[in-house]
């Protein structure tokens, strides 16, 4: 074998590259489960609630975001079904009146200003345009956080600065100032 050492070297490079490629996301992102496995499908499915029963725009134009516990307690004061998720939710949060610390997949860095009203009410964009099919999901996937910056991995799945600007250009929004989206 004339080139034996070359093959050994190249396969070493390939293995290291492959392992790095596959392992990098695990090394850089920390995964954690959501505190309660909330199912949008159960709540918004046939005859269920509408999105803005839980996610309203307030009269002052700000977005209420994820509903607080009192909203859930109206129905879940006592168990409505017999699932383990519901029991865990009632025992862990509703009865002791403890707010659920949801992790927001779409959460932007603290210096970003994002108004839902301009997009949903004024521009009439659908939730799916930015959040995908989250409103129909049955279980919650783990939340992934960048270990260094503390940012959500989902920013890179369609809500980076470049994505915001690209859509704004598509909609013919003229040159924006930095402070339009930053605070």
């Amino acid at each position: 074998m004339k080139h034996r050492s070359t093959y050994v070297f190249l396969s070493g490079v390939l293995i290291a590259l492959g392992a790095g490629w596959a392992g990098f996301p695990y090394a850089i992102y920390e995964s954690r489960p959501q505190p309660v496995d909330f199912s949008h499908k159960v709540h918004t499915g046939a005859g269920g609630m509408k999105c803005d029963d839980c996610h309203q725009l307030r009269p002052d134009g700000t977005f209420a975001g994820i509903p607080r516990l009192e909203k859930c307690a109206g129905c879940h004061a006592a168990a409505m079904g017999s699932t383990a998720e519901e029991k865990q939710f009632i025992d862990g949060y509703v009865t002791p009146k403890r707010e659920v610390a949801w992790s927001v997949y779409a959460r932007q860095p603290g210096n970003v200003y994002f108004p839902h009203g301009a997009h949903v009410k004024q521009a009439g964009l659908s939730c799916e345009r930015c959040h995908g099919k989250h409103g129909q999901t049955e279980t919650l996937r783990p939340y992934q956080e960048d270990r260094i910056s503390g940012y959500s991995r989902d920013i890179w799945r369609g809500l980076t600065m470049g994505d915001c600007v690209a859509c704004h250009e598509q909609h013919g929004i003229g040159q924006q100032g930095c402070l339009d989206c930053h605070k």
Binding site: D60, G61, G110, N111, G117, A118, G177, C178, D180, K183
Partner: protein
Amino acid sequence: MTGKRYGMSIDIDRCTGCGACMVACAVENNVPPAPEGATDRKGITWMRVFPVDNGRDGPDRKSVFVPMLCQQCGQDAPCVSVCPQQAVQVDPATGIVGQMPERCLGCRYCMAACPYHARYFNWWDPAWPAGMEKTLNPNVAPRMRGVVEKCNFCHGRWHAAKERAVGRGAREIDPADYVPACVEACPTAAIRFGDLNDPRSPVAQAAQQSGSFRLLEKLGTEPKIYYHSAREWVREIGRAPAGKEQVHG
């Protein structure tokens, strides 16, 4: 949206030097209390009230208080032209001179260039006494060590006013919804705010009033803060600093 040109009028004759504007500004904009070891030049005061006198002694001595903040230059703002990072931007929609901490590299060239000394450097990472971080304003992101900051006419309130307009289904904000914190806090209504392009706004009218002047007008930077005093010697200080200056607060 029609172009706005936000400006401010400050009636020096009404200012009592109480400092309410300084406190309201710091609270609104998440400016942390100065850490131990901060000197007069290392603290951060987007709004700062200076006592100024006419330089005489005895019964001839007269003094006034002059609230100082970014003068929001409307023409060739020196901070914009010297910034190697393009971290200072004049928003064409509002005329507000905005500082982008995300982009600032901390060279402080702008601080040297600013004729009004209205820019401040973060010598420390912001820190609040335990518990106080819960009272931070969510509409304003705290800055980090190593960047420059300054007054931006309470830009967080501009965002909030626009959201309120969306809530009402309107395209234009209600001027009553956009009032910077210092204006709101001033107990003698010495500071007023509004769109200089709107001839009916109180600032546009104050700018035209006799006794109205701007600081260092001769530089040609067209500042959008209009001061007012009925006294000639006070108007004189707008042309060149006179007398001894002392720092207040």
